[in-house]
């Protein structure tokens, strides 16, 4: 296989918050009955994380599991291991009505860090970022594109979008985080 590269290969920008492309991130879409024991087992095997409840993202030793809809999860894992996890989960869920797909290379991931990380996101999205706490994931839009984001701590957010709009996402994140653009100054 050819050498995998992420959309913007780790591009970064320093404003009043820092915006970095996170590089290669493994991502698996898992659709199925989220109340089934088999799905919970597959989530645990891939990420080490517990099954997330509505709107939650859980963390385990090997990755995260985000609640995307009543029948969909996003598993965030090591990029190099995503294909193996998909193969293993497809096998363990073979008898269930479930779907497991490696979407790593269809996505781009950004990390935004800084005291005002919520403000940067709030400039772009209709989500109430002031009310968000680490452990929650929100699927929404940033400007004109769909995106999902979550806080890993009070000063760090990770944002996922489609790879086809990676440059657009980076540009609007840079614009929102530009020095001099602080909110309430």
């Amino acid at each position: 296989m050819s050498n995998a590269v992420s959309a913007l290969q780790g591009a970064s920008f320093d404003g009043y918050c820092k915006v970095e492309e996170a590089g290669l991130v493994g991502m698996i879409t898992l659709r199925g009955d989220l109340s089934s024991a088999g799905v919970a087992k597959a989530v645990k095997a891939a990420t080490g994380a517990a099954m997330p409840g509505q709107g939650e993202i859980t963390e385990g030793a090997k990755g995260r599991a985000g609640w995307m809809s009543p029948d969909e999860l996003l598993l965030i894992v090591d990029h190099a291991k995503a294909a193996d996890f998909v193969a293993a989960a497809s096998k363990s869920l073979a008898k269930e009505h479930a779907l497991v797909v490696n979407v790593s290379d269809a996505r781009a991931v950004y990390r935004v860090t800084g005291d005002a990380v919520r403000e940067v996101l709030a400039k772009l999205s209709p989500a109430d970022t002031a009310a968000m706490v680490p452990g929650q994931i929100r699927r929404t839009r940033i400007a004109q594109i769909p995106a999902a984001f979550y806080l890993t701590d009070e000063k760090t957010a990770e944002l996922i979008c489609f790879r086809s709009v990676a440059q657009y996402a980076f540009d609007i994140l840079k614009d929102a985080a530009m020095s001099g653009g602080e909110v309430g100054v």
Partner: protein, 107 residues
């Protein structure tokens, strides 16, 4: 700005996160129906000034369709509910009646 709670995510989303799908609870008339029924199904829609039942999709969120009961004049929202129903649930009807005892009712 219209704000609706998605019954699947529990997310309170404004209309820029959503996509409107028009009047709810239409009965489909397909092959074999009369021309008149088919025409009505395709083209005739209620356009009330007041209580209205609509379909919405949480398009940049979970992607699911759901129903909303709202007031087209005041933008007041009486509630949102699952797409898997042919008519508004009792709780939604009650919420409308509580606000508008004179409401002529659903249908």
């Amino acid at each position: 700005m219209l704000i609706l709670e998605c019954p699947y995510c529990g997310v309170v989303a404004d209309e820029t996160d959503l996509h409107g799908g028009g009047e709810a609870h239409l009965k489909r008339f397909g092959p074999g129906s009369s021309d008149e029924d088919f025409q009505t199904y395709l083209f005739h829609r209620a356009n009330p000034k007041g209580v209205h039942f609509e379909r919405w999709r949480h398009v940049s969120g979970c992607g699911k369709w759901f129903h909303a009961a709202r007031n087209t004049m005041t933008l007041e929202v009486y509630g949102t509910y699952s797409a898997q129903t042919y008519e508004p649930p009792k709780a939604i009807i009650n919420a409308v009646i509580k606000k508008h005892p004179e409401w002529e009712g659903y249908k």
